[in-house]
Amino acid sequence: MVKRYVGLALLCIAWVMSSTAHARLTIEITGGTEGGLPIAIVPFGWDGPALRAPVDIASIVAADLHRSGRFTTIPEQEMLSKPTRPDAVNFRNWKALNQEALVIGRVHEVGAGRYAVRFQLFDVFKGDRLADYTIEAKASELRNSAHRISDIIYEKLTGEPGAFSTRIAYVAVTSRSGKQPVYALQVADADGYNPRTIVTSTEPILSPAWSPDGKKLAYVSFETKRSAVFVQTLSTGAREKVAEFPGINGAPAWSPDGRQIALTLSKEGNPDIYILNLTTRAVRKLTQNSAIDTEPTWSRDGRRIVFTSDRGGRPQLYSISVNGGKAKRLTFEGDYNAGGVFSPDGTRLALVHANRGDFRIAVLDLTTGGLSVLTQGSLDESPSFAPNGSMILYANGNNERSQLSAVSADGRVHQRLVLDGGEVREPAWSPL
């Protein structure tokens, strides 16, 4: 009897844990991957006492490359041969299958729980070897090794850095009827694996922002029943409350050098943009206006801040020098443009754009002033660029539960990141 209840209770604990900490994002590609570069990733060979390698490197690499929308991968069963060493490669087999690139490799167990992953990338038509690397890893690092291989292949073939070994932060919300929802700030690999909870609260958590070195997250938490901005170091879990003024403490955005945070405060009676010096803890007021000024984002060169303001009647994006002065309006199309974030190269802004009631993700080209709408939802928000600028991650609230989606920066490839049994929002893609 006692045993049965203990068993049941333990089951409950397991269930609660799995529904909060271990729920993983799964990615579904919802369209637009045709026309990518054809690439064959042959299952990697294995040298070790166990029956097979602890991680299927080739399938992780194939999934990464497929997800980027820049590649079309060939299924294993269509391969005419499965070489794992360069001398076994017959390029004619791959030409016959219209493959332009080929990846082969082997995983070798070099010691107890230590592995060396060697792989080669070939240009099928020229017969050239484009890359030949060996990566050493512990068992727990093998997924990461696979992502690093994807990064190398992506860069060799597209000329741009890959963003597969990066991470994403997001807020997962689990609610059960009649209970307070639980908000969890989580960090996972860019493919949704290895989710880790950074902080949980029964009060809202929002606006996570990565420090430029990728070591810390700034975020807003209402855990004390009022808003405060925290900075938390991921490796140690140590956190500091950096802003807790009367009124709003919100929308933290790191300066490119990581020494300052732009944020929204309303301590003087009205939401304005301030700059917080993380060393001296001094705050300096940047905007002065009776309207709402919020959602700062820092330009790549650190000299300007773009923010949302309704000073013209409706929310629009404005740009101001970090030294203050006159703000310049940037958006003119549509009746709602807010939540701007700079692209990694600083030439574009992703933002939330609404015209006649549908809130969608758009990109503003800062050189031409042209605005292109990338999504088709009605409640899309929180855009975040991949650190190589290739994709934009965002939240869509149309469904019963808010989920994350990603769209390629050209609007062609769409994918959805689904968390079973929960709601995900406020995505933030880590730096490289």
Partner: protein
């Protein structure tokens, strides 16, 4: 033997963990209930009611009985002001609601309230937090005109984070664009 305390702990926690207890979710009365009946009554009542009608006080100034804001027959129980989309202007039908609370607070300077600002889910989360606070400040400004002290009013804006109604429709959005006047729990 040593498992027994663990068993009791788990036994009492397990309903919570299974999520099978039923608690009332926060109960919002809609603007229709309010503007149609309660707010209309207030408009008629506030002009000729004195504070002691609303809130009987003993000679010591201490509170007698239950809090008047929890009495459904008391106009103080009407504690929500609703707004139009992206607007911080208090609609005229809610002015009497604010007046009732302001007059009560002005004559009870030992009581303070939290004005909770909220927004609907449309638009960005941080902008909605700013919008919710602007709404709370608009209510505060009106209260102060009736003599409520700054020290009696605190604000917090949750933006779209704490909707009164879930749902992606005009009806839910209307119920979510609101300021709640929150009295302390004793």
């Amino acid at each position: 033997m040593h498992l027994l305390p663990l068993f009791f702990l788990l036994f009492f926690l397990s309903p919570w963990m299974l999520g099978c207890t039923t608690m009332d979710s926060s109960d919002e009365s809609g603007p229709n209930d309010q503007s149609g009946t309660a707010a209309g009554q207030e408009r008629a009542r506030t002009s000729d009611m004195t504070d002691s009608d609303l809130y009987p006080r003993s000679a010591t100034g201490r509170i007698d009985g239950d809090e008047p804001w929890n009495d459904p027959n008391n106009p103080l129980s009407n504690r929500t002001i609703y707004f139009e989309f992206d607007s911080i202007d208090v609609p005229s039908e809610y002015v009497p609601v604010i007046t009732t609370h302001a007059e009560f607070l002005a004559t009870n300077p030992n009581i303070s309230v939290v004005l909770e600002g909220h927004a609907d889910e449309r638009g960005t989360r941080e902008y909605n937090i700013a919008l919710g606070e602007q709404r709370a400040r608009a209510v505060s400004k009106m209260m102060k005109l009736h003599g409520v002290r700054s020290t009696q009013i605190e604000f917090v804006s949750y933006g779209e984070e704490k909707p009164a109604r879930l749902g992606h429709d005009e009806q839910s959005w209307h119920l979510n664009r609101r300021v709640e006047i929150v009295y302390p729990e004793r």
